[in-house]
Symmetry: C2
Subunit: 462 residues, 2 copies
């Protein structure tokens, strides 16, 4: 249930100009259009005004105004979301963090950095590199840190370093009524009351809007290796994932790519992959000897599981080339299919259930004869099935298959979304995933945002 | 503000008997007394009835009854708390989890275990050892898992493996109105709505009561080493902590013990410590070579920082003897001072501020001539100053010093409690630590427990 909202009037626009300055506001159609949809297949929906706050107080004052006048507010990072979380479904104010993209303070001795929410994680890591530090969560795109936190984004290195929620210590948050609060602590340990930090992380801007964040950093590992191994069957590949995880090794990445997707990467990027179910792995260590010992264990496991080929490299250039292909797999796929749109599924299960989940996906694809590829953060039990579509019928077929896969993941003790968030598309699965806990989420939403102005239409089914 | 409560009547007792069975309830004075205080200096306060639930539904039904009749309910693990979190300040129902102490299911392939909340973490780890797995958070005492989660307890190995909040995936929680909900997921990745899991972890039973938990486990490391190094000054010792953390090494323990405490451990446990500020460290690795390389780096750092002596051992018996002394330091101290009670301070700061914090403690102790010892999880920026007292004047002196140390830790960007929780003693610092975020915590408390029956008198200042 979304409350009725009021339109953004000329008077509101004037008031917003006073808050953020005339140069930080636009009602031009081009700006509205640029912020009407994200990278997903979800339908565009225009805001009435785009506002670029330049300071936390701008955000707080904008929310206070919106709350008083019952105007919806949708926060926007850079639009790389895959579930429509940043689409201003009910119009109103689009709050873009493009101009709040600075490092506020580097705490190098503490391996921490405080940033504005609009900084891209790749841009951040480029600046941190000279200090030998990095912020490990790594969705493929150059998502903003604020967007990553709002969405609890994750990626290729989450298997070792955790998701966004595991790499943040403190945030400043603007509440619906215009209060600015701090949550969490720069102390890595804190047992002082309720963990509001993690309540706001992953809440997709529906409880409050992140205006500053202090992140945990990791020293850039001194030694890294890449492993690529191909298997005769999907089953052998994913069972190898379980075996590697069970060995006690601590891979920094453990990715599964199906045969069809390997073919795409090979032809587009010139990486030399055979057309088989393939695992990409990465290992990090402070000592070369540790790396070598670990690689030997991985080689043995892969051989025992019937690997067709096995390649390990500590050569930086080769490692980067391989991972570049993996990192850009989505863009490559889109580029190679100019006539198609893509719907990207995102479910995750406990690792022991991964082979059953992947087996189910294969079965669904075969039974229904649905073209699709698979690529996944296998080490976390996370898979993305990529469904191309060119018309409504194909889209509906993809959505039906997605629904079956989501319900299977939930049945296996997993989740409807490992890292893309709920946004618009996953809202309908929340009752199944959470049961009566969803009512608790609703009551917290009602408490913190009684007028429902914060990113309406997301997370909760209508 | 605590609402008025009703007394536990004979009729209520009858009803409780119907819920949990006559054998799981007592109003005997001996049972009341056993559950009236924890290990802290906080004053005893008796419940009116002790109830031992045997199943989650018992907990839920008890809460429903208590909520309808406005009776306070205080959850109890095993009474090892240090801030009075389990003391039934307003009488009512004491809910002891002593009889819900079983492993529900081991998910060995997932490195997970589902347990009832009353299991002691040492008992759990004894059972997990045969599977080569362990649950890493390790407060010194045999605290229950439920108590550890409610309190977000931490300990010696938190520097590497995290606090309780970092080692739990899913919980079942009974709400004040008798609903039973599940929060979190056995999938290690989840971006599906609000993180209620972490809202309940650390809430000290004031938002809901944990009735089951699925924990993350870690493979027992194949190789471990212990390092002990003594320094001429406290400053040299704590600056070594910062240097070790900054080196990129990943110690599994990094503990600071002051000269006075070293003297106690030496005389009581026969461990051969010099009477100097001393660091205890532990390192874990899958390969012996990794361990050796790391130890060499640590030795170099300690020498550069002016260590008076440096001892490293990979001998299991010697390592265990050293750590046994550290683990039992609290009991040793209490045993050696039969005429004293102890107040244990617990603050934490960002690691770069640790030398300044410790310098401040030393200054306070010297200026005020207060007898005390220091022991701390230095790698996390966490310190415990132990104040002995034998009368009200000494107690007041200790509390005053504690207050000054807490405010200093907050000034340095830290927290009033790194791992002991808020309970009774730290409630008065919550407004300083959280500012307006404390109002958000209150509103969430009001939403989930409108009648204030859940562990009243804790976390929030009166």
């Amino acid at each position: 249930m979304t409350p009725p909202f009021n339109p953004v009037t000329a008077q509101i626009i004037d008031h917003l100009r006073q808050i953020v300055g005339a140069e930080n506001l636009s009602t031009a159609q081009a700006d509205i259009d640029l912020h009407a949809r994200d990278q997903s297949q979800h339908r565009a929906s225009p805001a009435e005004v785009v506002v670029w706050p330049a300071a936390p107080q701008h955000v707080a004052d904008t929310l206070k105004l919106a709350n008083e006048h019952r105007l919806p507010v949708t926060p926007w990072g850079v639009g790389t979301g895959l579930e429509g979380s940043s689409i201003p479904l009910f119009g109103g104010i689009l709050l873009s963090f493009e101009r709040m993209n600075q490092i506020v303070e580097l705490h190098a001795d503490d391996f921490q950095v405080t940033v504005q929410p609009g900084i891209g994680h790749k841009d951040l890591n480029a600046q941190l590199a000279r200090h030998g530090l990095f912020f490990p969560p790594d969705p493929g795109a150059n998502a903003t840190v604020g967007g990553m936190l709002a969405n609890n984004a994750a990626g290729i290195r989450t298997v070792r370093y955790g998701a966004s929620k595991d790499n943040v210590l403190r945030m400043q948050v603007a509440l619906a009524d215009g209060r600015l609060i701090h949550v969490g602590s720069r102390s890595v340990k804190q047992s002082a009351g309720y963990d509001l930090l993690h309540l706001f992380v992953g809440s997709e801007g529906t409880l409050g809007i992140i205006t500053e964040a202090t992140l945990k950093l990791i020293p850039v590992p001194e030694h890294m290796s890449a492993v690529v191994a191909a298997f005769p069957t999907v089953k052998a590949a994913v069972e190898t994932v379980v075996a590697v995880r069970g060995s006690g090794l601590d891979p920094a990445a453990l990715e599964f790519i199906d045969a069809a997707h390997c073919r795409m990467l090979s032809s587009a990027e010139g990486v030399d992959l055979t057309e088989n179910p393939t695992l990409f792995m990465e290992f990090h260590a402070a000592q070369q000897s540790t790396l070598s010992a670990g690689l030997e264990i991985v080689r043995q496991i892969c051989e025992e599981m019937g690997a067709l080929n096995f390649r390990a490299t500590t050569d930086t250039a080769e490692r980067k080339r391989l991972w570049h292909a993996r990192h850009h797999s989505y863009e490559i796929m889109v580029r190679m299919h100019p006539d198609k749109q893509f719907f990207i599924n995102d479910v995750a299960v406990p690792i022991s259930a991964y082979p059953e989940l992947i087996g189910f996906v294969e079965q669904i694809r075969a039974e229904r004869n649905i073209p699709s590829t698979m690529i996944g953060h296998a080490g976390d039990g996370n898979i993305h099935v990529e469904f191309p579509f060119a018309n409504d019928a194909e889209y509906q077929q993809a959505m039906d298959a997605n629904g079956a896969i989501v319900l299977k993941a939930l049945e296996l003790g997993g989740t409807s979304t490992g890292e893309h968030g709920v946004g618009i598309g996953k809202a309908k699965y929340m009752p199944v995933e959470h049961g009566p806990a969803l009512d608790v989420m609703r009551s917290i939403k009602q408490t913190l945002d009684p007028n429902g102005i914060l990113n309406p239409g997301k997370i909760f089914p209508g």
